[in-house]
């Protein structure tokens, strides 16, 4: 499959949308589930795009930017992986093997881009001196264009030079034991994301609910919707019964003291 000019243009647009999503973290267009699906749509193989997106999404479930800390880059990883898998007619497992190194490279590009945008911040300071509202707006939007190009330019280069034979030859260079090992590892690489979520959650005294979910899942075949409903009930009952949230101030103070001490012990 050789890409048409229209497809290359559309891939550039999709990559730009994912790049903007990656910094905005608003519409989630940088998540594998969305980005891979859009690439599949452009390349005429929606099903592969959706399945690859779902697979990578599970691996990246807990990847998040907290404050100034950057996570691996799902935008560039999803798009390049989806292009190579669909054009080179590769397996989903190969897609994972492609995505992870690209996510690491993308993380470096993200840090560079977010350092470059300091320039726009300083330009805006100058425009504030003479109340140039339009120019301040432009500074803000221009920084977004940098972030779009961060993903779109590498993707453009790949889609200009990619060919089915090229992808297959390149991937054939990887020895079989590495491909098998990567497939095995992809089964448990998800835990990095789970661990990121657990560490980010502040209230460690709520960890029993984590273990409760774990045990129930181990011995039942409930689906995710059931777990969502059960978790919601657990949350409502906990908040209703918790003395910390009762109106009576005497009970509230005495109890919050004891739980604080209990937390301190857990933290040690």
């Amino acid at each position: 499959m050789i890409l048409s000019t229209l497809q290359i243009v559309l891939l550039f647009v999709v990559a730009a949308i994912a790049g903007m999503g990656s910094v905005l973290d608003s519409f989630q267009t940088h998540r594998p589930l969305i980005a891979c699906t859009l690439v599949g749509l452009v390349l005429g193989d929606l099903t592969t795009g959706v399945i690859l997106g779902g697979t990578l999404e599970l691996i990246a479930l807990g990847w998040m930017n907290i404050g100034a800390a950057q996570s691996p880059d799902s935008a560039l990883a999803s798009i390049i992986s989806a292009i190579l898998v669909i054009i080179g007619n590769q397996s989903i497992a190969t897609g994972i093997a492609i995505a992870l190194p690209v996510a690491a490279a993308g993380q470096v590009l993200t840090v560079v881009a977010r350092t470059v945008t300091v320039m726009f911040q300083h330009a805006a300071d100058k425009y504030a001196e003479n109340c140039n509202f339009r120019a301040i707006d432009l500074c803000h939007i221009s920084a977004l264009i940098i972030q779009a190009l961060r993903v779109a330019v590498p993707v453009l280069l790949i889609s200009l030079f990619v060919s089915p034979a090229g992808v297959q030859n390149l991937l054939a260079l990887i020895p079989a034991f590495i491909t098998t090992g990567l497939k095995v590892a992809s089964g448990f690489i998800v835990v990095v994301g789970y661990a990121m979520v657990i560490n980010m959650m502040g209230a460690k005294y709520l960890l029993p609910f984590f273990f409760l979910g774990f045990v129930i899942a181990g011995f039942t075949t409930f689906n995710l919707v059931a777990f969502g409903v059960l978790g919601l009930f657990a949350a409502i009952v906990y908040v209703q019964l918790n003395p910390k949230f009762q109106i009576n101030p005497i009970v509230a103070t005495s109890d919050s003291n004891t739980t604080d001490r209990f937390d301190d012990e857990l933290d040690d």
Partner: protein, 276 residues
């Protein structure tokens, strides 16, 4: 108080649209400083006429700011309400506006990160991904719609509520425990579902054979190490690995480094026949 200068509904809608671009100029020097200024520009234009006042307002909103992007609504609303009061002649110092903004950053990161990144996104994404694995395009659509509905609702309601309540929100309502209740509830839901995911979606298999028994009728019963772990508790190895990674992350080992380490474990383990 006499309120001659008021924000119009159009200004608020303009600010609501701008909030979606909150992080466009994310930078390592002042994070969302320019983003917040960009958000509040419609209010500054409406409330201040003289260039001196406009300049002062722009400059006080180009200072360091950072909050979970989905939770900027209430901060922007309260700040706009304070600017409005100041423009109408109330005695509000510049430093008061800045300190309210900074004071709201902490609590709303504390609420926003667990709710949006710890609970809402993993759950909607896991739901979407599980449907996507069957090849159905419904998966990405469900994820996109559910997450964004919740996010846009938080921005819209947060902005309007914050603007309407103004300082009352900071002085009275946040002192109560409403925010803490919501955060704790969301954390419980997030933890609970995360526990289920660790059990259901982590695949580790150790096919090391412990014993092989030939029964009377000639069939062979093989017991592997994995069978024993599964009898103890399904998903036990995944749980152990998750807790180990939690510890390593706390030791400041980066996520991408851990991913490559786990890759190495997978390659070496499968080459030696310990993992499958």
């Amino acid at each position: 108080m006499d309120r001659k200068k008021r924000l119009t509904k159009g200004d608020l809608i303009n600010m609501f649209i701008r909030m979606n671009l909150q992080q466009a100029s994310f930078n390592f020097e002042r994070i969302h400083a320019l983003g917040f200024c960009f958000n509040i520009i419609p209010a500054i234009k409406r409330l201040y006429n003289s260039p001196e006042d406009q300049k002062a307002a722009l400059k006080r909103h180009l200072t360091f700011f950072n909050v979970t992007p989905a939770c900027v609504g209430p901060v922007l609303g309260v700040t706009a309400a304070m600017e409005e009061a100041k423009a109408n002649g109330a005695k509000i110092e510049e430093s008061a506006i800045s300190s309210i903004k900074i004071g709201m950053m902490g609590p709303f990161c504390g609420v926003g990160d667990p709710i949006f990144w710890g609970t809402l996104r993993p759950i909607t994404a896991a739901l979407g991904a599980s449907i996507a694995l069957t090849g159905s395009v419904l998966g990405p659509i469900i994820f996109f719609v559910l997450f964004n509905l919740a996010r846009l609702a938080a921005l819209w309601l947060g902005l309007f509520y914050g603007y309407k309540k103004g300082l009352d929100l900071v002085l009275n309502e946040l002192k109560g425990n409403k925010l803490q209740k919501i955060t704790e509830g969301a954390s419980i839901l997030g933890f609970f579902v995360m526990g289920a995911l660790v059990s259901k979606w982590t695949v580790i298999n150790i096919p090391v054979v412990i014993s092989q028994i030939t029964t009377a009728d000639g069939s062979v019963i093989t017991t592997t190490l994995q069978n024993i772990f599964d009898q103890l508790m399904p998903g036990l190895l995944g749980l152990g690995l998750t807790l180990l990674v939690c510890k390593l992350l706390k030791k400041r080992i980066s996520p991408i480094m851990l991913i490559f380490m786990l890759f190495a474990v997978g390659i070496i383990g499968s080459a030696l026949g310990i993992l499958a």
